[in-house]
């Protein structure tokens, strides 16, 4: 088959389709192509744009002045089409950057849709398809376009309808246009889909258009049960004619989407039909006997094989509808329709099952068949891949799996590179689905050698990656040595491996494999050190997981100490040793320097580390400093050198190194002093305590596995299938009690003193209570202000000022009053810079049905850069109020830390007055429910609550001191209190009958407990005291919480 297409560089060459060409457009394109420079081209585009603009403008003015000319459309459809096509070309050739330059033609483009000429409509729809992703376009023309769309959908000419269907199908998934929620469009398209009189051509297109609408808005089918049942049945019946391959091809994706995302119950009945289609394609269609083969239309054959697209689509739907036993649990979790709506292979009709199995057998035969046409071979392989992946669903026998594996493995040596890639891919899937049988038959049939061979000679990194994943899947305790050696060789010697990521990936994989399957722990150590030593050669290895894991295991296994340390010393003697090795040495040799004394004296070891010191990063330097003092602790005779070394490092530019040296010098000094004081018992006491031997680590899981999790989905099976393998052998994981990592990822491992600092974890509540005892002075002022005002100052100090703002969160349809957004601004009040500003928000509870939840915390901005004088940093978070709570005792805490002017860290600890009253909204604020309460109604409700709940849900608080105690002016007090209550969100009942009392009402919103009404009487007395009485529609302490908040606001 001829694949190379000739290029004939003659722009004016006429093509076979002269009828449809637009001459002006062709000339324009030819002009642009002949421009050598971009500037020239730009100029040409601009002049053309100006010309088009003029034409459009003049046509619109002439249209209005000579409305009764012989050509009432002055511009003419042909001209319009031509100009719009030019604009579309500009848009494409400028790679969408010229959008704004061509927008002026938008109205004229829409005008094209109204044309009765097909070609004009076509150009109109085509151009809009290109532009419809832009909001400004959609907003401007969507209404008109919708109108023309509906018109075209009901056209009698199929070609016009097809254009409209196509347009909807292309753009419905894009944002802004609302086609998928427009009922008229939806029903118009569905009408075409179901109507028995529609042509296949339109049915096919409408099925796909409908699929797009459904994807954009699945509610179309789930909203109305009756419609759902009716419509899905109609759609499913599209597949009833199993020999109409044309329609099947388009209907399959729609049915598949419904089965997967809407409801699979209706689709189960399709299994026999789908089997029929598959059988006709795979078995009948490929049969060599001419009499049967003729039944399959040549039209739908591709490279001598019946339509492979149809085959793969059918298989894909079937493999969703049929589930195998071992994936039941997974599916149950994923599928919302439950497991009983899907079919088990064992429940299949025996005839259907045997037909399906036959299909698999034929596909395998096809895959093995030799043929000369490369295209045919490719298609055969495609069919093979898709059916082999499907075969695992059909309760295959072990023999069936073996023959699948053999078929695949024979393709490993295929000359076609794509086939090799997909074979590896398919093997990976097969192994993870069919488990042990598949894995074993790949492993023991010389196939391993074949895979190694690919690894060695393949140049394409995607194939190499698959190879490595596959090898990773196969490894168990029996072949681990062989596979690890091969991988190691590959990393060390391969010339094809240039990708540093892949290199580190392989290294991690080797590390995991060795740890998991190693039978011999010495071998494990040797291999691990090999990995560590190679990582630095070409690519810096930026993750510390491997050496940290090694350290963990060595610490926990005392029989490894000696061997590892000996090996490390050898590595250190080499001129070029990697930084990971130095880190490992710094940690392990520091701990166990006593073990290598027969090999190297401590003094020499010290020298060795000083040599390396200059070559490594600061993080490693810090580790070496710790090693030095450990060496000193073990052999005090090297003291003078160690001290000298630390003294030199006092001048280090790095603050961490400086501090460490200083601290260690001091430690040595103190221990020497106590020695000279003759305090023999306490000799070196401090230093001994600080550098006591490392206790075993406790964490069980290997942190490296986490790294693999993401990029190794298909081969997740080793963990499951390897259980058997590892159960018999004493692997390292089981013999150790592994541990926390010795070093935190970025920062150098902390001086070991910290490890004696064992902290018993406290519960959240205990911690909360502890924190509230150390709040910053003056916190109460901001707290009360926060309760009474929606925005204001939370805290001021000579250093920093914090301003807050509380708003209810607006979701798309409505305001969610139970969700509060709190915005905080930090302002630097000093002359100096504030650096390292960070904050923590601390709720009362995080578990056990908490009253409120803090979420979406945006950290203060900017986090790293310092804030100059008067500069602000902002932070925001949301609080979801789930149920009533006492803001006084349980309000969230805010802790702010920052550095200013070199005084070290400053802390501000505040309680935030965000609570139940912030969800309080008056009756008339709730939009549609506008309602003003009059006094009689208030009293009536009050009585109703009294009869219903009695004293439950009521709370009285007498003699609240009003803030201005000097005020006696009742009128002024009344106004102030009214103001405060209004600000809290209450609705005030307007009345004049009771002079000294204010009646208020409101609604409290909570997320999980719902909304509650609340009524309150506020009585003010001559002595400036106020009595509060509150009733709520909910019993319990809610009324008390509201009164307390009101009190805080009033007596501020």
């Amino acid at each position: 088959m001829e694949r190379k297409k000739s290029i004939i560089g003659n722009p004016t060459r006429s093509t076979s389709s002269t009828t449809s060409t637009i001459k002006g457009l062709q000339l324009f394109i030819a002009d642009l192509r002949s421009c050598q420079q971009t500037q020239e081209q730009e100029k040409r585009i601009q002049t053309e744009l100006v010309k088009i603009k003029q034409h459009f403008n003049s046509s619109s003015t002439k249209n209005t002045s000579h409305s009764h000319g012989s050509h009432h459309d002055k511009l003419g459809g042909y001209q319009r089409k031509k100009y719009i096509a030019k604009l579309a070309y500009v848009y494409i050739t400028s790679n969408t950057t010229k959008l704004n330059d061509i927008l002026f033609g938008l109205d004229q483009t829409v005008q094209l849709l109204s044309s009765t000429a097909f070609s004009e409509k076509f150009i109109g729809y085509m151009t809009l398809e290109l532009l419809y992703e832009h909001r400004q376009v959609v907003e401007k023309v969507n209404e008109k376009v919708t109108y023309y769309l509906l018109q075209d959908l009901s056209e009698s000419d199929d070609n016009f309808v097809a254009l409209a269907l196509h347009f909807v199908g292309t753009v419905a998934l894009l944002p802004f246009n609302q086609f998928a929620t427009n009922d008229e469009i939806i029903s118009a398209i569905f009408q075409i889909l179901r109507s028995p009189t529609s042509s296949h051509y339109l049915k096919k297109k409408s099925a796909l258009s409908f699929l797009t609408l459904l994807k954009a808005n699945p509610v179309i089918l789930t909203d109305d049960m009756q419609r759902k049942q009716l419509w899905i049945q109609r759609i499913v019946s599209l597949l009833d004619d199993t020999s109409n391959y044309r329609l099947c091809l388009a209907a399959l994706p729609l049915v598949e989407y419904i089965a997967k995302n809407i409801d699979s119950t209706y689709c189960i009945r399709l299994v026999p039909q789908l089997t029929e289609i598959l059988y006709n394609c795979v078995v009948v269609g490929t049969s060599s006997s001419s009499s049967v083969a003729n039944q399959f239309p040549m039209e739908y054959k591709f490279a001598n094989i019946p339509n492979p697209w149809l085959i793969t689509k059918t298989v894909s739907l079937l493999s969703f509808l049929i589930i195998s036993q071992n994936e039941t649990t997974n599916k149950q979790l994923q599928s919302h329709s439950g497991p009983n709506t899907l079919l088990y292979a064992s429940n299949l009709n025996p005839e259907v099952l045997s037909k399906l199995r036959q299909c698999v057998t034929v596909a395998i035969e096809l895959g093995m068949r030799t043929c000369n046409d490369p295209m045919e071979k490719i298609v055969q392989n495609t069919v093979l891949f898709s059916l082999i992946n499907f075969a695992s669903k059909l309760d295959p026998t072990d023999d069936a799996i073996k023959s699948s594996v053999n078929a695949l493995c024979s393709l490993l040596s295929s000359p076609d590179i794509n086939t090799r890639y997909l074979t590896l891919d398919s093997l990976l899937k097969l192994c993870s689905l069919s488990g042990e049988v598949a894995i074993n038959s790949v492993r023991y049939n010389k196939n391993l050698g074949l895979i190694f061979n690919i690894l060695k000679h393949e140049r394409d990194s995607s194939i190499v990656r698959k190879c490595i994943d596959l090898l990773y899947t196969f490894t168990d305790s029996e072949n681990v040595k062989l596979i690890v050696e091969e991988l190691l060789n590959f990393v060390l010697h391969s010339r094809n491996l240039n990708d540093p990521h892949m290199k580190s990936d392989i290294a991690v994989k080797i590390a995991v494999l060795t740890e998991k399957y190693a039978m011999d722990s010495n071998w494990f150590v040797i291999i691990s050190l090999k990995i560590l030593s190679l990582t630095n050669n070409n690519a810096p290895f930026n993750d510390d997981g491997i050496w940290q894991r090694l350290c963990q295991i060595v610490v926990n296994n005392s029989h490894l100490h000696k061997l590892t340390c000996d090996q490390l010393v050898d590595y250190l003697y080499k001129n070029e040793c990697s930084e990971s090795i130095i880190k490992t040495s710094a940690f392990l040799l520091g701990e166990y320097c006593g073990k290598v004394q027969d090999k190297i004296s401590i003094a020499n070891l010290f020298n060795l580390f000083t040599d390396k010191y200059s070559m490594v990063s600061n993080v490693t330097k810090a580790m070496i400093l710790t090693t030095m003092i450990k060496l000193y602790n073990f052999a005090p005779e090297i003291g003078s050198w160690v001290i000298k070394f630390f003294q030199l490092e006092l001048n280090s530019l790095d603050i961490e190194l400086q501090t460490r040296s200083y601290e260690y010098l001091k430690i040595i000094q103190i221990s020497k002093m106590s020695e000279s004081n003759g305090n023999a018992n306490n000799n070196n006491n401090l230093i001994n305590v600080l550098f006591s031997p490392m206790p075993p680590f406790i964490t069980k899981s290997n942190p490296l596995l986490k790294r693999l999790g993401g990029n190794l989905q298909p081969s997740s099976s080793p963990s499951s299938s390897s259980h058997k393998a590892s159960a018999g052998s004493t692997t390292l994981v089981e013999s150790t009690t592994p541990m926390t990592t010795p070093g935190v990822t970025q920062r150098p491992p902390p001086p070991p003193a910290s490890r004696t600092n064992s902290m018993v974890p406290k519960s959240q509540e205990e911690y909360y209570v502890e924190q509230t005892s150390t709040l910053s002075p003056n916190w109460r002022e901001g707290f009360n202000r926060m309760i009474s005002h929606k925005q204001g100052i939370l805290f001021t100090s000579p250093l920093i000022k914090i301003i807050y703002r509380i708003t209810a969160v607006k979701t798309e349809e409505r305001i969610d009053y139970s969700r509060l957004r709190v915005e905080l601004s930090y302002i630097n009040e000093t002359e100096w810079d504030i650096t390292g500003l960070s904050s923590e928000i601390f709720p009362f509870k995080v578990q056990d049905n908490p009253e409120y939840i803090i979420q979406n915390v945006a950290l203060p901005t900017p986090t790293k850069i310092s804030m100059g004088h008067g500069e602000r940093s902002r932070q925001s978070f949301e609080i979801v109020i789930r149920k009533p709570f006492d803001v006084d005792n349980c309000g969230p805490l805010l802790m702010v830390h920052f550095k200013c002017g070199g005084n070290g860290f400053n802390h501000v600890k505040l309680k935030l007055g965000v609570g139940i009253t912030h969800t309080l909204i008056g009756n008339q604020d709730t939009g549609s429910m506008r309602h003003v309460i009059e006094l009689p109604e208030f009293i009536q409700r009050w009585k109703m609550l009294s009869t219903a709940l009695g004293k439950d849900g009521e709370f009285i608080f007498d003699s609240v001191p009003f803030k201005k105690d000097a005020t006696v002016d009742m009128e002024e007090a009344r106004m102030t209190i009214r103001q405060i209550l209004k600000r809290l969100g209450f609705d005030i009942v307007e009345q004049n009958s009771v002079k000294n009392t204010i009646f208020v009402s409101g609604i409290i919103h909570t997320k999980s407990d719902g909304n509650f009404g609340c009524l309150m009487k506020v009585k003010y007395q001559d002595d400036g005291k106020i009595n509060l009485t509150c009733k709520t529609t909910l019993g319990g302490p809610l009324a008390e919480y509201i009164v307390r908040c009101t009190k805080s606001a009033i007596s501020r």
């Binding site: 694949r3 190379k4 297409k5 000739s6 290029i7 004939i8 093509t15 076979s16 389709s17 009828t19 449809s20 060409t21 457009l25 394109i29 030819a30 459809g77 042909y78 096509a85 579309a88 070309y89 494409i92 050739t93 969408t96 000429a117 097909f118 070609s119 004009e120 076509f122 070609n159 196509h166 419905a172 944002p175 096919k204 297109k205 796909l208 258009s209 699929l211 797009t212 994807k215 091809l249 388009a250 994706p253 039209e299 739908y300 591709f302 339509n307 492979p308 697209w309 149809l310 793969t312 689509k313 295209m375 490719i378 495609t382 891949f385 898709s386 590179i417 794509n418 890639y421 995607s462």
Partner: protein, 156 residues
């Protein structure tokens, strides 16, 4: 199967000749794909395999003379080899329509190129029609309608 994410036609010099996005991507994401993916593919050697993994999806591409046809596909849903065959089918169909198609045909008749593509792949990247004859028949029908339009224009 076959839910293409996008189809790009790019010349050897990296010029975009045709784009069709089936997945709803933001303009920013699209620009990113064009910016990163195209040079990546242009730099691959002729003997390398035609499939590569790019960000969260796979890409299948094939070169015809000076034009690269690049298809973004959904892993595990699309079949890579068949995607290559779809590309080939598209090229074949255009070849038959234009008669020995070349890059220039596609540039000058980009509307037609879209038209043929639309007949084959629809909406969200599903395959609508695989038969070359049917596609060509449909396209020719449209051409004849255009012809009638032109005739009407002359007569009016």
């Amino acid at each position: 199967m076959t839910h293409l994410k996008y189809l790009l036609l790019v010349s050897r010099q990296g010029k975009i000749r045709l784009t069709k996005w089936y997945a709803p991507l933001s303009p920013k994401e699209k620009a990113k794909i064009i910016k990163n993916l195209v040079p990546l593919i242009l730099s691959r050697k002729a003997k390398m395999c035609n499939i590569l993994e790019y960000s969260d999806h796979k890409v299948a591409y094939r070169r015809y003379a000076s034009l690269y046809f690049i298809c973004g596909i959904t892993p595990d849903v699309d079949n890579e080899l068949l995607t290559l065959e779809i590309i080939h089918k598209y090229v074949e169909t255009m070849d038959q329509y234009f008669g020995n198609v070349c890059e220039l045909d596609i540039i000058y008749n980009f509307t037609k190129a879209y038209d043929i593509l639309n007949e084959m792949i629809m909406c969200d990247g599903s395959l609508a029609e695989t038969s070359k004859t049917v596609v060509l028949k449909d396209v020719r029908t449209m051409d004849s309608m255009v012809g009638t339009d032109d005739l009407n224009r002359v007569l009016s």
